[in-house]
Amino acid sequence: MVYPTIATIRFSLYNETATKFVGLHNFASVFSTDAILTAFKNNIVWVLIFPFFVTFIGLMVAVLTERIRWATAFKTIIVMPIVFSTTASALVWRTIFDLNPHVGVVNAIEQTVSDWFRTPGAYPLNTAIGQTTASLASFNATGGPGGTLVNKSVVHPGGTVMMGLTRISSVTLQTLGATTPVAPRKIAGGIAGLVWNDFSPLQTSNTTTIVSDEHGLPNLRLSLVSSTGSSVASTATNSSGDFSFSHVAPGSYHVEILASNFQNAFEGTFWLGSQSITPTNGLNQTAQSLLSVPLIDLAMIISYIWIWAGFAMVLIGAGLAALNREVLEAAEIDGATEWQKLRRVTIPMLAPVLTVVFVTMVINVLKVFDIILNMAPGSSQGPATTLALSIYNDGFTGGIHSGVASAIAVILFLLVIPIMFWNLKKIKG
């Protein structure tokens, strides 16, 4: 085992095909290649976030588990993921974080919550092509506050309103069961109207009048606004696009189409993507490599915690069980509450175990490789890569770039050395 280490160091000092001695050239290219800098950054992100949280969760769970009767069953559940291959786990979490709310649990929950607060409208705007509410209208309208569509024409009780909208997709019309529009009939003391899709393939230039193959716009929510600007009534269109407000007091009004009709459906969070949590959009390439934190890193860290928290829990649980009960009793007599006991006595006494867990997890995470390979979709592999993965990619796929790959391996090794010494010291003492 020692031989390979030395050989790797030797390789790192040679060129690609191991024929020419290039000294530290490989190392220089390591530090200047954006891709590798990204890998470096990702390793740092992992090391900063993962060990802390996994130890923390392990600790909380170990402490709480002492109090319940079904501790063994619980521990089994939490420890179980360790026996799964990382590949399988990566697969599982990939489905959980999937964008499609019919596949990914997370997005499904997000959608449910989002819909609860912000009901999606039947006629979502296509912001990708710059649609605004105003651009939809073929009648005299402006865009109102919050995305409402305001009909500028004034109407009085007994009058009618005709509002034509364009650029509504036929799929939407079909889904909503739109039927042929009917011209509105006047209502005494009320206001009637029609909202219809004012686009006919037969008479493309004809706007503002109803053509036979056009459709009404159902389920459109409207509000009747008085001259003072307050809404006095609201209603929705039926399948032919017709609506009416009855028992309207005399006065001038205008009709508004509510913004909620145009609200976009929930778009979902692309957890598996490289969108950065940190605001780095304006920076140059290298800076971005170093500073952006892709969302997928978070997703992967969460899944990795799922796998390893059991390990932390078992070790910390053993440490807890080995604690001197009487010291905790002394604390109780001294006046400590449960929380104070935990914070001021239990956790400090657990310091050695917590350190072991933490360090072990740091080592573990420096080598993280297969979860990224399996969980990140092709487009995210680059932004999510780590040093270990780079070694594999550079060293074993495509051509054999043993020089650079070895250089990376050496760097990884160097990172691990201090921990190795610390471990040795611990064993000796």
């Binding site: 001197n324 009487e326 010291v327 009793e329 002394a330 604390a331 109780e332 007599i333 001294d334 006046g335 400590a336 509450t337 104070q340 001021r344 006595v345 400090p348 006494m349 310091a351």
Partner: protein
């Protein structure tokens, strides 16, 4: 300082048919030093922990001062407990160990400082305040445990065999220190031990517990001179009391108690004879302490005994002589200058005040 009262205190652990504590009632006076003694597993530690609030009460009441504390958490009972294993906080310095309780109660910093330095001075710990427990010796740790208790100025000090982890010499030294501490603080102290020497030397009163039951409570002298039953008689005093089963005989209108072989007999006076007759027993167990057996002959009341010498243990001023008499073995303590050799036949006696007679079945003292 408060009094502590136990009323019919009983403890039964779930799953155990036997009672760990059986209806123990005890009144500890304000400022008193009382020892709970008994063999391992007798329930004395259980009782102490119940007073502290670390064990639940099955039935009965515990009062500290005037309050019934059964339902109070340990931290609300105003007691301090010195553990057998000291239970110091390993990650804190001596100073922090002692001040922890006060810090939790949000006592102002300068008050904490004074309290801790005072206690440290009393216990000779001032130079160790910055050290951690791992850097201290056993005796020093013990003193820190005491210091932690003192600083709290509790209503009562509870101590659970605090000296058993110390070596013999240190034990004697610390024993005196604790006694001195008690005098100085005038504190109510409840001290648990299995060592009757500790109990005899330190306590104002001793409570002897066996198998969960309170056998006797009294001053050391009371327990020594007038043990209520055979257990207490055998437990107090070292080397322990000699016990010989004997038979009751009527003789000349009085009562004589004789051993099986006839080598030992006790003559009783009228009052004593009356007591035996009223007890209505035909056999008794006779008890006599080794230190009360003299190497001389007596006539009249008291014990006469003929025995041969088996083993002689020379202890400087005294000799512990192991005797056998008619198949029974006894120990006697005589002056070391007495010329004795193994195999000698001796006549020994003891005055009637030193003789105890116990009921053969119940063990209760008849005389």
């Amino acid at each position: 300082m408060s009094s502590v009262t136990l009323r019919e205190l009983t403890k039964q652990y779930t799953g155990n048919a036997a009672l760990s504590l059986d209806s123990v009632s005890l009144d500890v006076a304000h400022g008193e030093f009382i020892c709970l003694v008994g063999p391992s597993g007798c329930g004395k530690t259980t009782a102490l922990r119940m007073i502290a609030g670390l064990e639940s009460v099955t039935s009965g009441e515990i009062e500290i001062g005037d309050r019934v504390v059964n339902d109070l958490a340990p931290r609300d009972r105003d007691i301090a407990l010195v553990f057998q294993s000291y239970a110091l906080y390993p990650h804190m310095t001596v100073f922090d160990n002692m001040s922890f309780g006060l810090k939790l109660r949000k006592v102002p910093k300068d008050e904490i400082n004074t309290a801790v330095t005072d206690a440290a001075r009393i216990l000779d710990l001032e130079q160790y305040l910055d050290r951690k427990p791992s850097q201290l010796s056993g005796g020093q740790r013990q003193r820190v445990a005491l210091g932690r208790a003192i600083v709290r100025s509790p209503a009562a000090f509870l101590m659970d065999e605090p000296l058993s982890n110390l070596d013999a010499k240190l034990r004697v030294q610390t024993r005196a220190e604790i006694a001195r501490l008690h005098q100085r603080l005038g504190a109510t102290m409840i001290y648990v031990t299995h060592d009757q020497v500790e109990a005899m030397t330190m306590a104002d009163r001793i409570a002897v517990i066996n198998l969960g039951k309170l056998e006797q409570v009294g001053s050391p002298r009371e327990l020594y001179d007038r043990p209520a039953n055979q257990f207490v008689a055998g437990f107090i005093g070292s080397p322990s009391m000699n016990f010989v089963p004997m038979h009751v005989e009527s003789v000349d209108g009085g009562i004589r108690v004789v051993s099986a072989g006839g080598d030992m007999d006790v003559t009783l006076d009228d009052v004593e004879s009356d007591m035996i007759r009223r007890a209505g027993v035909s056999d008794v167990v006779m008890g006599v302490r080794p230190e009360h057996i003299d190497h001389l002959a007596r006539s009249g009341r008291g014990l006469q005994l003929r025995a041969s010498v088996d083993v002689i243990e020379f202890l400087g001023n005294d000799e512990h002589v192991h005797l056998s008499s008619g198949g029974h073995e006894l120990v006697a303590i005589v002056d070391a200058r007495t010329p004795l050799t193994i195999g000698d036949s001796l006549t020994l006696s003891a005055s009637s005040e030193a003789i105890h007679l116990f009921h053969p079945e119940t063990g209760i003292a008849l005389k």
